[in-house]
């Protein structure tokens, strides 16, 4: 009885392990499929804010691509993305870097524009919005509130 129970537990763990492997394989294959079967566009951000290869690209919360690579060019972050075929991006589409929650995963959000023209494969998303630097904003707020000008209108020394 005890031996049968032990074999059952081992079998269960094995099944869970195989299930995890299958799930990972499907996820990776999907990502690879997306990267191979899309078209590439580029965007330049003044601050990439932790983007890396594999970062999701979404429209209206739906994943439509992935970041293929990020590199420094002229002291700015040039981001290469692969977008699913069939998803057309207007020339004035805007790309912005977002975070899921306060300390969550980074992603690129594309907001569709109004232009009649679309971005061709290999083209550039011209309008970008970098990630909000919360630390800098908080520091500015704190410093700003402390560093009030004196009564004569002069800045503090």
């Amino acid at each position: 009885m005890k031996k049968a129970y032990l074999e059952f537990v081992v079998g269960l763990f094995l099944a869970i392990g195989i299930g995890c492997l299958a799930w990972t394989s499907i996820k990776l294959a999907r990502k690879e499929f997306l990267v191979r079967n899309g078209y590439e566009v580029q965007a330049t951000f003044s601050n990439a804010g932790g983007l890396c290869s594999g970062t999701p690209v979404v429209i209206a919360g739906v994943e439509i691509g992935r970041v293929k690579g990020v590199r420094l060019e002229d002291y700015e972050a040039k981001v290469h993305m692969v977008i699913q075929h069939g998803v057309l991006l207007q020339k004035d589409t805007m790309a912005s870097i977002k975070t899921k929650g306060l300390i969550g995963e980074k992603y690129i959000e594309l907001t569709p524009g109004a232009s009649d023209e679309t971005i061709k494969p290999g083209g550039v998303i011209r309008d970008t919005q970098p990630e909000m630097d919360l630390e800098a904003l908080i520091a500015k707020y704190i410093q700003g509130s402390l560093a009030k000008p004196d009564d004569k209108g002069q800045p503090p020394h």
């Binding site: 805007m94 912005s96 524009g113 109004a114 009649d116 011209r126 919005q129 410093q143 800045p155």
Partner: protein
């Protein structure tokens, strides 16, 4: 949004200083800023009797530099092509009036605050350019402001402004997206009308 508007006004109302790698887009932004500063500091135009004249003169300078149609079209985003030509024209009129009147109201209430603007550089790709500036306010707080411009003939005209890295167009595009997702275009237009200051013609 109020902070964004305030900073936009601060950019227009502040004094200019350093100019690094100034090209045509930077020169045109600087020229518009300087003209508005002259109008704001002109004692003859500060009287109540000439207040509307001053507003009209500043509005003319804004009209020359800002491509209101591009700002409105891009802000409405994917909903723009769904509107008729007449509706698009009406939207440009309403939205530009809202932005301009808000800016003029802030200028009237704040006046020309003495501060420093550093022109940090510009980037031109084909017919598009960005001009990066940095405003230092009286309390020594630094605010980055980036203008995005499109070439129209010899002029470079603004189609977006990023203050502290936040895009004006993106901000409105998100708001319009949310409103139009929940209600109707007619409601959005009614809201815009309601927000335009009543005393303006």
């Amino acid at each position: 949004m109020k902070t964004l508007r305030w900073l936009l006004v601060a950019q227009l109302a502040a004094g200019s200083s350093l100019c690094a790698r100034a090209g045509e887009p930077t020169a045109q932004i600087r020229a518009t800023t300087d003209k508005i500063l002259v109008l704001l500091s002109d004692p003859a135009l500060k009287t109540d009797a000439r207040k509307s004249e001053r507003r009209q003169l500043i509005r003319s300078e804004l009209d020359r530099r800002v491509d209101w149609a591009a700002v409105a079209r891009s802000s409405l985003g994917r909903y723009w092509p769904k509107r008729t030509r007449a509706e698009q024209d009406e939207f440009i009129g309403l939205f530009s009036r809202l932005l301009a009147e808000t800016c003029l109201d802030k200028l009237d209430s704040n006046g020309a605050d003495p501060a420093k603007i550093d022109y940090l550089g510009e980037k031109i790709i084909d017919d598009y350019a960005s001009v990066k500036t940095q405003i230092t306010t009286k309390d020594q707080t630094v605010h980055p402001v980036e203008y995005r411009l499109q070439k129209a003939g010899k002029d470079w005209r603004i189609y977006d402004v990023l203050i502290e890295g936040v895009s004006l167009v993106k901000n409105y595009r998100d708001q319009f997206d949310e409103i139009l997702g929940k209600t109707s275009y007619e409601k959005l237009v009614a809201d815009l009308r309601a927000k335009i200051p009543r005393e303006t013609p």
